[in-house]
């Protein structure tokens, strides 16, 4: 189990224990955290699990998947630290990861 903190657009924080091997998206969906839609179910075919990764974490994560940036182009208000949460896999390396949820997904 690894702690991941999701911060909603309104500032509300949720710190959740997510099982290693799951994605940051799955951690949110399974724990009913509002603000992540994940319409396509994690196949990188939509951009509705978009998150902003806290700056100091952004470079520590594995590189973006091929094609991830193409989908982020289609996200709501993408920024430099944008990621699709279905492409971030939770592991010991991500203990304490903090992600911000955008105002909305669509």
């Amino acid at each position: 189990m690894t702690k991941v903190t999701y911060i909603e657009h309104n500032g509300k924080e949720h710190t959740i224990d997510v099982q290693n091997g799951l994605t940051v998206m799955e951690g949110a969906v399974q724990n009913d955290i509002p603000g992540i839609d994940a319409d396509c179910g994690g196949s990188m075919a939509c951009a509705t699990c978009h998150v902003y990764v806290k700056d100091e974490w952004y470079d520590k994560l594995d590189e973006k998947s091929e094609g991830e940036d193409d989908m982020i182009d289609q996200a709501y208000e993408p920024k430099k630290n944008s990621r699709l949460s279905c492409q971030i896999i939770v592991s010991d390396k991500t203990e304490g990861l903090i992600v911000y949820l955008p105002e909305k997904q669509v």
């Binding site: 075919a45 939509c46 951009a47 940036d69 182009d73 289609q74 709501y76």
Partner: protein, 339 residues
């Protein structure tokens, strides 16, 4: 008013195979889809991506799957209503009265929602001020390119639509192309062409910029863009085009009195019927305990919903289960010779 035994909303793989199942058992049906082509997510989101979990098909792309499903439907001459979104579903005695965005009206005892994750709509600029100029000076698709002749057009986006239109409009308009990063996701040849036109001064290219403001009163006057490093630029423009791909929205389905669970519709697993008699949901849009969002699940759900439709469409007849391998009646419907 078009009368039909069943109306299918959504022309993705599930909607297509559901139509096949309805026709096999002798019911007629028509299909409505908001997109301009048949295939749903398979065509819109991943036409070239291989799929490996369709039973008996080791590998096929979204486009191939769609083509095969269309071929399987050929004997039935199904009527498609593309580019139309179902806006209203109303009870009328024993039938449902359905109206589309184009004003087409249907009367049917059975409505099958095979709507995937809702209808595809263009993603718009998040800036509030853009709304008042929408369809006047700000567009998300182009119907008549003549209006841009001799004008300044500012295009946002990095995919094929943005690049294709930048190249095309640069012949007759002053074009600014703006994208949030250096890489483009369009076809290589088009990306090369854009760089070539940028060098020769036909396109003004700004990368790592995003829209941050617009100015104008009755007409749009100027656009303001901001770089990743916060540097701001402002220039005059007559038109703004945004090409950020399509997003999926449940849309009007949310207003039909159905029990919803997040963005999905609750159904039973016998008929795939919703809480409204005669309205079914199949494929990605339906939910029940154990639901898997797989194409093969949609096929199964459609087959069962089709049988449920029989009762309401032919109240005085008895449905008889038959195999396509042996039934003379089914072979007649398919237009193939029986042995």
């Amino acid at each position: 008013m078009i009368k039909t035994d069943a109306l299918i909303i959504g022309a993705g793989p599930t909607g297509l195979f559901t139509a096949h199942q309805l026709k096999i058992i002798g019911l007629d049906c028509q299909i409505v889809d908001n997109l301009d082509k048949i295939g749903g997510q398979c065509i819109e989101l991943y036409p070239d991506k291989p799929i490996y979990d369709i039973p008996a098909i080791p590998e096929c792309t979204g486009e191939e799957l769609t083509q095969n499903l269309i071929k399987q439907l050929e004997p039935f001459k199904i009527k498609f209503h593309l580019n139309e979104r179902v806006d209203e579903v109303k009870k009328d005695n024993n039938n449902w009265e359905v109206r589309t965005s184009n004003g087409t009206k249907f009367s049917t005892p059975n409505v099958i929602i095979a709507g995937g994750v809702g209808s595809f709509e263009p993603r718009k600029f998040s800036l509030k001020e853009c709304e008042q100029f929408e369809n006047k000076s700000i567009f998300y698709s182009i119907k008549d390119k003549k209006i841009f002749e001799g004008k300044t057009v500012t295009i946002f986006g990095g995919g094929d639509s943005a690049l294709d239109w930048a190249v095309e409009l640069s012949k007759t308009s002053k074009v600014n192309l703006i994208h949030r990063r250096d890489e483009f996701r369009g076809a290589n040849a088009t990306v090369d062409k854009v760089h070539e036109l940028t060098k020769s001064g036909k396109i003004n290219l700004y990368t790592k910029y995003q829209l941050s403001g617009i100015k104008g009163s009755s007409n749009l006057e100027s656009v303001e863009i901001t770089h990743e490093n916060k540097e701001v630029k402002e220039f005059k423009t007559d038109y703004i085009l945004g090409f950020f791909g399509l997003i999926m929205q449940l849309g009007p389905i949310a207003n039909w009195g159905l029990n919803l669970n997040k963005k999905t519709i609750e159904v039973d697993t016998e008929k795939f019927e919703t809480n409204q008699k005669g309205i079914y949901a199949v494929g990605d849009i339906c939910t029940y305990p154990g639901k898997l969002k797989l194409i093969l699940s949609g096929f199964h759900e459609g087959a069962l919903a089709a049988r449920a439709c029989f009762k309401l469409a032919r109240p005085n007849e008895k449905y008889r289960f038959e195999f396509t391998t042996s039934s003379k009646t089914i072979k007649n419907r398919l237009g193939v010779k029986s042995d």
